[in-house]
């Protein structure tokens, strides 16, 4: 299981259910159920393989391994791993979607310093994840 490797990491375990607004200034790993909104701004959010989140999410990096129903606003990067089931819109600068992930919604990759820059970042990100099968 991939968890963010930072000194400060909040963890919501499998048996925990949270309803309401979640905000904070440290990274968050969710393997339980959360319904509401999640505001982490400059920090990272990981939805673990058992996590089920029904919320609009705002964070720096967002990694989805479990299930998410809601929009993702990631100031840096959004990543859907192969076990992810995500329904909602994604607005970010870089996106990585692994083969096998399920996604329903819109992806809007926003330019960092112009369209070319954003495209280049997206490309390198995708290559690093090895998605797209034999197309690389």
């Amino acid at each position: 299981m991939d968890t963010p490797k930072t000194a400060e990491l909040a963890h919501i375990g499998r048996s925990v259910t949270v309803k309401g607004e979640l905000s904070g200034s440290e990274d968050l790993f969710i393997d339980g159920q959360v319904e509401g909104t999640i505001e982490l701004r400059g920090n990272n959010l990981t939805i673990g393989p058992h996590g089920f989140v029904k919320a609009h999410v705002n964070a720096k990096d967002v990694v989805v391994q479990g299930k998410l129903e809601g929009n993702i606003q990631a100031s840096q990067r959004a990543q859907l791993q192969k076990s992810a089931v995500a329904m909602g819109d994604i607005v970010t600068k870089r996106v990585a979607i692994e083969e096998g992930a399920f996604f329903k919604g819109k992806i809007d990759v926003q330019a960092e310093g112009g369209k070319g820059d954003a495209a280049e970042h997206t490309k390198s990100e995708m290559k690093s994840r090895g998605v797209g099968g034999s197309s690389e």
Partner: protein, 225 residues
Amino acid sequence: MKLFRGSSVASDHGTATAQARARLTRRSSGVAELTKMLATESTLCVLDLGSTSAANIRYLTELGHRIYSEDLLEASADPALAMKNSEGTPVLDDKRFLSENLIHPSGQFDMVFFWNLADYMDESLVKPVIGRLWSLLKPGGVLLAFFHTREAGPDAPCYRYHIVGGDMLEMQHIQTGRDASARSGSSPHLQRVFNNRHIENLFRDFSSIKFFLARDNVREVLVVR
């Protein structure tokens, strides 16, 4: 129109799994036309109606376009859609389907990849879905669809298509179901084969229609709203 009911050969899970892993490539005249448009126009709004394809998302976002992904075939397999019409024939509830899927503002999209869905979706959904897509496309917007020719049999494999650039597509055999156990299970069956007249009728509200005949018993159809 030639209708198929069920499969002539029982599905073999091992074979299906092996087919799912293998990927084939094919040239596509329709995709070639669309990639010209994708390369020359900026920030297009594109709707991909096949299974989630990381390759398509990558290809389109790299070019600066906005992509919407929606797996219509998966959605049409929802058991809650099953009902019977006034004659007692089992059909799918198209009104419910359209209340849960393809919910976007009218005239939002410049381009729709409809792929081969018309051949694999339940017949009761095909016309309503195409009607909805007409309203979702901007005037002048384009839609690409693939149709099997009559040489294709009921076990013609269902592929999801990945755009790999230029006029090339990568084809991956798909199974229905969102979880791993379902993916190793059944593959969607070809429901029917449309002839040219039926295809023209399906898209009669569109302003133009162009056919490309491919070698693999598939016709590519590019329509403009």
